[in-house]
C-alpha cells in the first residue's frame, strides 16, 4: 500500500493504493467519483474518459499510481456550481438516451472546445471518434455541439 495525493476536481485528495490498481477503479470505488463509467476496459469505448492535466484520457488504461501529483477533472467538477453550456445544449437537443456514454463525451468535447471554440463537424467527429454511443447514432450529439458553437456565442 502506498499513499498518493492527486488533485481531483480542484480538491487535493489522498488515497492508499496498490501499484496494480487502475485509476478508473480508484476514482469510482475509493474516491466516490461515479461519473466515469466502466465499459470495455481496454480503451475502445471512451466511457471512462477523464481529463488528466486537461487532456482526455482513458482512465481504464492509467494506473492510479501514475496520476500521483496530477490533476483530474470529471463531470462532477465541470458541473460543480451549475451545468456547463455544453451540458445545457445536450439537454436541449435530447442528445443522449441511456446516458452511459454521456460523461465521456462531455469531457472529450469540453477539451475540444477549450482548444477550438468553433470546431468544424469533422473536428467534432474526430474528438469523439473513440467515444462509442449505441443509442443515438450521434446526430443529436453533433447537432447540440454545432448549435452551441455557431455564431458569436
Amino acid at each position: 500500500m502506498k499513499e498518493i495525493t492527486l488533485r481531483v476536481n480542484n480538491e487535493l485528495r489522498s488515497v492508499y493504493i496498490e501499484p496494480n490498481e487502475i485509476l478508473l477503479d480508484v476514482l469510482r470505488e475509493k474516491l466516490g467519483i461515479k461519473s466515469p463509467k466502466c465499459g470495455c476496459e481496454r480503451g475502445d469505448c471512451g466511457a471512462c474518459t477523464v481529463l488528466l492535466d486537461g487532456k482526455a484520457v482513458r482512465s481504464c488504461l492509467v494506473l492510479a499510481v501514475e496520476a500521483e501529483g496530477h490533476s483530474i477533472k470529471t463531470v462532477e467538477g465541470i458541473s460543480a456550481e451549475k451545468l456547463s453550456a455544453l451540458q445545457e445544449a445536450f439537454i436541449q437537443f435530447n442528445s443522449f438516451q441511456c446516458g452511459y456514454c454521456a460523461p465521456g463525451i462531455i469531457l472529450a468535447v469540453t477539451e475540444l472546445l477549450e482548444k477550438y471554440p468553433k470546431p468544424t463537424l469533422d473536428e467534432i467527429k474526430e474528438s469523439i471518434a473513440g467515444n462509442l454511443c449505441r443509442c443515438t447514432g450521434y446526430t443529436p450529439i453533433f447537432d447540440a455541439i454545432m448549435d452551441l458553437t455557431k455564431g458569436d456565442k
Binding site: L52, R58, K125
Partner: protein
C-alpha cells in the same frame, strides 16, 4: 478493484537507475510510457511482469529536437503532441497522417510513437511512415547504445529486435526536406479501427520512390520491387498499372475478422494508385487530406 496480476512499480528519476533495474529483472520487467497497450496486455494476461518501470520522470524521454538534418522523437512524446508539432505539419506529413490514424484522440493523448513500434503488431499504423522515412531506433542499456534501422526492427508479430535489457530512448528521422509522402489507412468505418490495409508512399523530385505497407503480412515492410519498378520514372497510368501487378509479390495478407485476403490484395492496388498521385500532388505543394482519399473512411 485491482488488476488480477500483481506487480511492483518503480519510477526512477535517472536513466542509469532505470537501466540497472531492467538489466536485473530482464524480461520480468516492462517499461511503461503511455500504457495504452501495456495495461491491456497485463489485464488480458498476455504479460505478467514482476516490475513495471515508469519512464515518464526521465528527462531524456521528452526530447524532441528538430533541425534541417534530422528529427529525434523521445520515447515519452505522445502521438497527440506529435500530430500538432511543426515538423510533422510540414516536413514529415506522412508521419502526421499515420499518427492521426492511431486509435482515437483519448488514446493518443497517452500513447507514444516509441510504444507503438515496441508493440509491433502487424497493423502498426506508424510503421509504413517510419519505413519510408528510414527511421532509426535509438536503444540503450547498461551495455551501451545501439542504433537499429527500422527495416531491421520488426522480427515477427509483436516481436522486435530490442534486447531484454534494453530501453528505447527514441527514434531518429533523417531529413525529409526533399521528399513528399502520404500514409493511407483503410478501416471498416470512420473513427477508430485497426487497419485492413495501410500504405506509406514517398517520392522526391529525382523520381525516387519509397513504398511500405502494414496489415498485409506478419510484419510491416518496404515494397522494394515496386520501388525498383517506379524509380527514375514519371508517374503515368501505364506505370502505375504495372506497379499494381507487382503487389501480390510484395504482400502476404491473411483473411481475418476485418477483411479477406482477396479484398486486401484488391484494395491495395487502389490505395497504391491514389497514394502515388496524392504524394505527387503534395510534392507540387498541393494540400491533400489523407483521410478523404478513400471515400472518407479512414
Amino acid at each position: 478493484m485491482a488488476l488480477a496480476h500483481e506487480f511492483d512499480y518503480a519510477r526512477p528519476a535517472c536513466l542509469e537507475e532505470a537501466l540497472k533495474l531492467k538489466n536485473e529483472y530482464r524480461e520480468k520487467a516492462v517499461f511503461l510510457a503511455g500504457g495504452t497497450d501495456l495495461i491491456v496486455n497485463i489485464k488480458e494476461g498476455m504479460l505478467k511482469p514482476e516490475l513495471v518501470i515508469d519512464i515518464k520522470d526521465l528527462g531524456e524521454m521528452e526530447d524532441f529536437p528538430y533541425n534541417e538534418d534530422r528529427m529525434f522523437v523521445g520515447a515519452a512524446i505522445t502521438l497527440e503532441y506529435l500530430i500538432h508539432s511543426d515538423p510533422l505539419l510540414f516536413d514529415y506529413q506522412i508521419l502526421q497522417d499515420a499518427a492521426k490514424t492511431v486509435a482515437s484522440h483519448g488514446v493518443r493523448t497517452r500513447a507514444t510513437l516509441a510504444g507503438n513500434i515496441c508493440s509491433a503488431v502487424p497493423s502498426l499504423d506508424s510503421a509504413p511512415a517510419l519505413l519510408c522515412l528510414e527511421a532509426v531506433v535509438h536503444c540503450v542499456s547498461v551495455d551501451g547504445e545501439r542504433q537499429i534501422p527500422i527495416g531491421e526492427w520488426f522480427i515477427a508479430p509483436r516481436k522486435t529486435a530490442l534486447r531484454d535489457n534494453e530501453l528505447v530512448l527514441g527514434v531518429y528521422f533523417p531529413s525529409a526536406i526533399n521528399w513528399a509522402g502520404i500514409y493511407l489507412k483503410l478501416g471498416r468505418y470512420g473513427g477508430e479501427d485497426l487497419a485492413q490495409a495501410g500504405w506509406g508512399i514517398m517520392l522526391n523530385r529525382e523520381r525516387q520512390y519509397r513504398i511500405a505497407h502494414c496489415a498485409l503480412g506478419p510484419v510491416p515492410k518496404r515494397a522494394f520491387k515496386i520501388e525498383a519498378w517506379l524509380n527514375g520514372n514519371e508517374l503515368s497510368e501505364e506505370l502505375i498499372a504495372e506497379a499494381i501487378k507487382l503487389i501480390p509479390e510484395e504482400i502476404s495478407p491473411i483473411t481475418d475478422i476485418r477483411s479477406s485476403k482477396e479484398y486486401r490484395t484488391h484494395v491495395s492496388g487502389i490505395m497504391l494508385k491514389r497514394g502515388l498521385l496524392a504524394a505527387r500532388d503534395r510534392l507540387k505543394g498541393k494540400p491533400v487530406d489523407a483521410a478523404k482519399l478513400l471515400g472518407g473512411i479512414a
